[in-house]
Amino acid sequence: MALLYVALGTIFGFILSRSGAADYNYIQAMFLFTNFQLYGIIGTAVAITAPGIWWIKRHGRTVLGRPIAIELKPRHRGNIVGGLLFGIGWSMAGMCPGPIFVNIGEGKIYALAALAGALAGAGLFGAVYTRIQSVFRLPRLLVGTGDG
């Protein structure tokens, strides 16, 4: 299965690379409303994915016959505050998380610094989770054994 994920990731990365989604100028143009390429991409993706998910859920099973299980994301105050912070970073770097990796593959040297920052930011969040949990009403942690 790992090879399947690598293959899907490769196609996804190629599309991000060639569509403008991993391009600093296109990200700024989207936020400046001077170019609508990325709005078109997100809109098209949602317009096709939404009925697709609906059909797959109605079908109820994967290709291999396992029951479809979609883990839902929790709602809390972090959705708004975290979203705003991520938006600042998206604008500054001109990359959201997927394109950080795509830009590294393309050979954009500065993307390595963006990755280092993103890992540090995620690490920081994990380290302070229990301290900011009540402020943002974040869910309790379900800690496992690592076998999953």
């Binding site: 090879l3 399947l4 994920y5 690598v6 990731g9 196609i11 996804f12 190629f14 690379s17 060639r18 403008g20 391009d23 600093y24 100028n25 296109y26 990200i27 989207m30 936020f31 990325l38 991409i41 098209t44 993706a45 994915t49 939404a50 697709g52 998910i53 797959i56 994967t62 979609i70 994301k73 972090g78 708004i80 505050v81 975290g82 979203g83 912070l85 991520f86 938006g87 600042i88 604008s91 500054m92 770097a93 959201c96 998380p97 997927g98 795509v102 593959g105 393309e106 050979g107 954009k108 920052g117 993103a118 995620a122 920081l124 994990g126 380290a127 942690l141 800690v143 496992g144 076998d147």
Partner: protein, 171 residues
């Protein structure tokens, strides 16, 4: 508008959007996985940071698909550069170079700072453009809609502040 990468012409938005949708649906229909990339940052952290947040079941159980997918993203970018004119490491950053400038060290510092916001913000929001913006919105999940509106607002405010208010560019 050409891409920074070799000045290539981009794919048509409808083609790119359809391709992203097909990958998202394939992940769900074949592998029972919801698309989401920023959680991959946690997967990497979980190898080195011994705190409870990174020992969650949700992190540990997803490492074996998300990490190969991320390796694919790097390969996809590499393939795109290779086929589009050859792989050549670059510092080019489009209008940033024309308007803001900064040397190599300054650019690295800027990117690291942006990365901090991306890493902390996506984890606090519980997802990024892929997990919230594409999958969550397509699955009509309210937290994803709230997060998506929030990160679009954060990006619009920041870019407008930098390029229109501070540097006064017209287009």
């Amino acid at each position: 508008m050409p891409l920074i990468l070799h000045g290539l012409s981009p794919l048509h938005w409808a083609v790119a959007g359809a391709g992203i949708a097909l990958i998202t649906l394939a992940l769900l229909f074949v592998a029972n996985r919801r698309l989401g990339i920023s959680t991959g940052l946690e997967d990497v952290c979980s190898f080195v940071l011994p705190v409870p947040y990174f020992a969650r079941d949700a992190v540990r159980s997803a490492r074996k698909w998300r990490l190969p997918f991320i390796v694919g993203l790097v390969l996809g970018g590499h393939l795109s550069a290779f086929l589009g004119g050859g792989f050549a490491p670059t510092w080019d950053l489009g209008i940033f170079d024309q308007v803001i400038g900064l040397g190599h060290a300054g650019k690295l510092a800027w990117m690291f700072a942006g990365g901090l916001f991306i890493g902390f913000g996506t984890r606090l929001a519980g997802g990024c453009t892929s997990g919230h913006g594409i999958f969550g919105v397509s699955n009509f999940e309210l937290p994803s809609l709230i997060s998506t509106v929030s990160f679009m607002a954060g990006g619009i405010l920041t870019t407008q502040l930098i390029y229109r208010v501070i540097f006064h560019i017209g287009s």
